[in-house]
C-alpha cells in the first residue's frame, strides 16, 4: 500500500507539474521571436523549451517527490488516499502510454514508408556518418531519414533537375540536419504531447530549416545555388505526405527561405547573437548549489505539498 501510494503521489505530482509547465510554455514561447539570435540558437532554444516541461517534471519528481515520500512519509500509518490522486495518477499513466504509442506509431510508419522509398535505390556516396542513396523518380526529391544510421535519399528527378553545385549545397543542407539530430528531436516531440504545442513545433521546424540553410551556406554563390535548388525542387509535387521522422528539403515557408538566401549577408549574420550551450552551465551550477543548500527544507516542503495532494 505504501509503495502504491508513493507511485500514485509521484505520478500525480508529475502530471500536474507537466501540465503547468507545458501551459506556461504554450503561452510564453512567442516571446522568443523578439530575440535577435542566430537561427541555430533560436532552433536550439525552441527545442529546449519544447522538451522542458517533460524533462523538468521528470527531474523534479525523481529528485524531490520520490525521496521526500521515501524519507518523510511514515510507513506504519495506513493513511487513506483520495480519489483525486488516483485519477491524476491514472492520467499520468495514460499520458505516458499515449506518448509511447505516438513514438512507436511514428517510428513504424516511417520505417514502412522509407522501406518503400528505398526500393530500387542504390548508394551514391558513402560518408563516415551518412549514406546517400539515389532513389526512384517517384520518391520525394531530397529527404533525410533515420536516426542512428542517417541516410539521405536523392531522387532521380532531383539529380536530373539540379546542377552539380546546387545538388552539393542541397546535400550539405541535409547533412546539417544530421549534425543537429533533427529526426531524433522530432521523435522526442512525439513523446511529450500537449495541446497547443503544434505551433511551437512548427516554429522550431522553420527555425531548424533556416539554421541548416545558414550552416550550409558560406558565401553568396552558395546562397543563390541553395535558393535555386529550393525553387526547382518545390515544383516536384510530393506523392504523399512525409512521415514524422524524416526531414524533407522542401519544408517550411519556401518564399521566406528563398528571399532570405537571396539577401544573404555575412556581416548581418555576424551581428546576431549566438547562444552557446555552455551559457547554461553557470545558471545550472547556481541552481544545483541552491538545491544542495536547501535540499532538506525543499524535501519537507515537497512532502507537505504531496500530503495536501493525497488529501
Amino acid at each position: 500500500m505504501f509503495a502504491l501510494r508513493g507511485i500514485a503521489v509521484s505520478l500525480t505530482f508529475f502530471v500536474l507539474l507537466y501540465c503547468l509547465l507545458s501551459g506556461l510554455v504554450v503561452i510564453s514561447w512567442r516571446w522568443l521571436k523578439w530575440l535577435r539570435a542566430t537561427k541555430q540558437s533560436l532552433a536550439g532554444l525552441l527545442f529546449v523549451l519544447r522538451v522542458f516541461p517533460l524533462v523538468a517534471s521528470v527531474v523534479i519528481t525523481f529528485a524531490f517527490v520520490v525521496p521526500s515520500f521515501q524519507l518523510l512519509e511514515p510507513r506504519s500509518i495506513d493513511e487513506g488516499m483520495g480519489a483525486m490522486p488516483l485519477a491524476l495518477g491514472l492520467c499520468a499513466l495514460l499520458l505516458i502510454a499515449y506518448g509511447c504509442f505516438r513514438v512507436v506509431a511514428a517510428q513504424t510508419t516511417t520505417t514502412r514508408v522509407v522501406a518503400r522509398w528505398l526500393e530500387g535505390a542504390h548508394p551514391l556516396n558513402v560518408d563516415a556518418r551518412t549514406v546517400t542513396f539515389r532513389s526512384r523518380r517517384e520518391a520525394p526529391p531530397l529527404t533525410l531519414v533515420g536516426m542512428r544510421k542517417p541516410r539521405v535519399l536523392v531522387s532521380e528527378s532531383t539529380i536530373a533537375l539540379l546542377s552539380h553545385d546546387e545538388l552539393q549545397i542541397a546535400l550539405k543542407h541535409e547533412l546539417e540536419h544530421v549534425r543537429s539530430r533533427d529526426n531524433l528531436k522530432k521523435l522526442l516531440f512525439r513523446f511529450c504531447p500537449f495541446p497547443g504545442m503544434a505551433r511551437l513545433e512548427s516554429a522550431w521546424s522553420q527555425a531548424a530549416e533556416l539554421a541548416a540553410d545558414d550552416a550550409a551556406v558560406s558565401n553568396l554563390d552558395d546562397a543563390v545555388d541553395l535558393a535555386a535548388a529550393l525553387v526547382k525542387l518545390s515544383r516536384l509535387v510530393p506523392v504523399e505526405a512525409a512521415p514524422v521522422c524524416t526531414v524533407g528539403f522542401v519544408t517550411g515557408s519556401i518564399s521566406a527561405r528563398v528571399t532570405r538566401l537571396l539577401a544573404w549577408d555575412e556581416a548581418a549574420k555576424a551581428h546576431s547573437t549566438k547562444i552557446r550551450a555552455w551559457y547554461a552551465i553557470p545558471p545550472a551550477l547556481v541552481a544545483l548549489s541552491c538545491v544542495f543548500a536547501t535540499y532538506g527544507p525543499a524535501l519537507a516542503l515537497t512532502h507537505e505539498m504531496t500530503e495536501w495532494l493525497v488529501r
Binding site: V224, S234, I254, T259
Partner: protein
C-alpha cells in the same frame, strides 16, 4: 490588404466601407490614436464628428478597442493587419467549405487556385534567383576587369 477587405465584405462579418478602411489603416500606422490625433495628422479630410462616428462604428464591429482619455476616447486596433487578413481568409474558407452538400466542388476550386498561386509564386522566386545570379556574374566580371586593368595601368605609368 485591400484584398482582405474585399473578402471581409463577402463574409458574414461586418462589411467595411472605404472610409472605415482608411481610418483602420491610419490607426495601424499610429498604433493608437484619438480622433483629434488622427485629424491632426492631415491625412484624413473629414469632419471631427464623421471620424468620431466611424471610429465608434469600428469599435462596435469589434475591430477597435478604446479607453477613455479625458473627455475623448483613445482607440487601438484589436487585430494587426496580418491577424485580420488571417481571420478573413479563415472565415472565407470556412464559408466556402460549409456551403452545403456541394462543398467538394469549392474545395477543388480552392486547390486549383492554390496550385496556380504556388506556380506563380515559384515563377516569381525563379526570376529573383536568376536576377541575383546575373548580378553576381556582372559583379564578378567587373571585379575581373579591375584586376586585369590594374597591372596594365601600372605598366603605362
Amino acid at each position: 490588404m485591400t484584398k482582405a477587405f474585399s473578402i471581409f465584405g463577402s463574409s458574414s462579418r461586418p462589411q467595411l466601407g472605404p472610409f472605415e478602411q482608411q481610418v483602420l489603416q491610419e490607426l495601424w500606422s499610429h498604433g493608437s490614436a484619438t480622433v483629434r490625433e488622427l485629424l491632426a495628422d492631415g491625412k484624413i479630410h473629414q469632419a471631427y464628428t464623421t471620424v468620431m462616428t466611424t471610429m465608434d462604428r469600428l469599435y462596435k464591429k469589434g475591430l477597435l478597442e478604446r479607453v477613455a482619455e479625458g473627455r475623448a476616447f483613445r482607440y487601438t486596433p484589436r487585430h494587426t493587419p496580418e491577424e485580420l487578413q488571417r481571420n478573413t481568409a479563415l472565415e472565407s474558407i470556412r464559408q466556402l467549405l460549409g456551403s452545403g452538400e456541394a462543398s467538394r466542388l469549392p474545395l477543388s476550386y480552392l486547390v486549383e487556385a492554390l496550385s496556380t498561386h504556388d506556380a506563380q509564386l515559384l515563377d516569381e522566386l525563379q526570376l529573383l534567383v536568376e536576377r541575383k545570379r546575373r548580378e553576381i556574374q556582372s559583379r564578378k566580371i567587373k571585379a575581373g576587369d579591375a584586376v586585369t586593368r590594374e597591372p596594365r595601368d601600372r605598366e603605362r605609368r
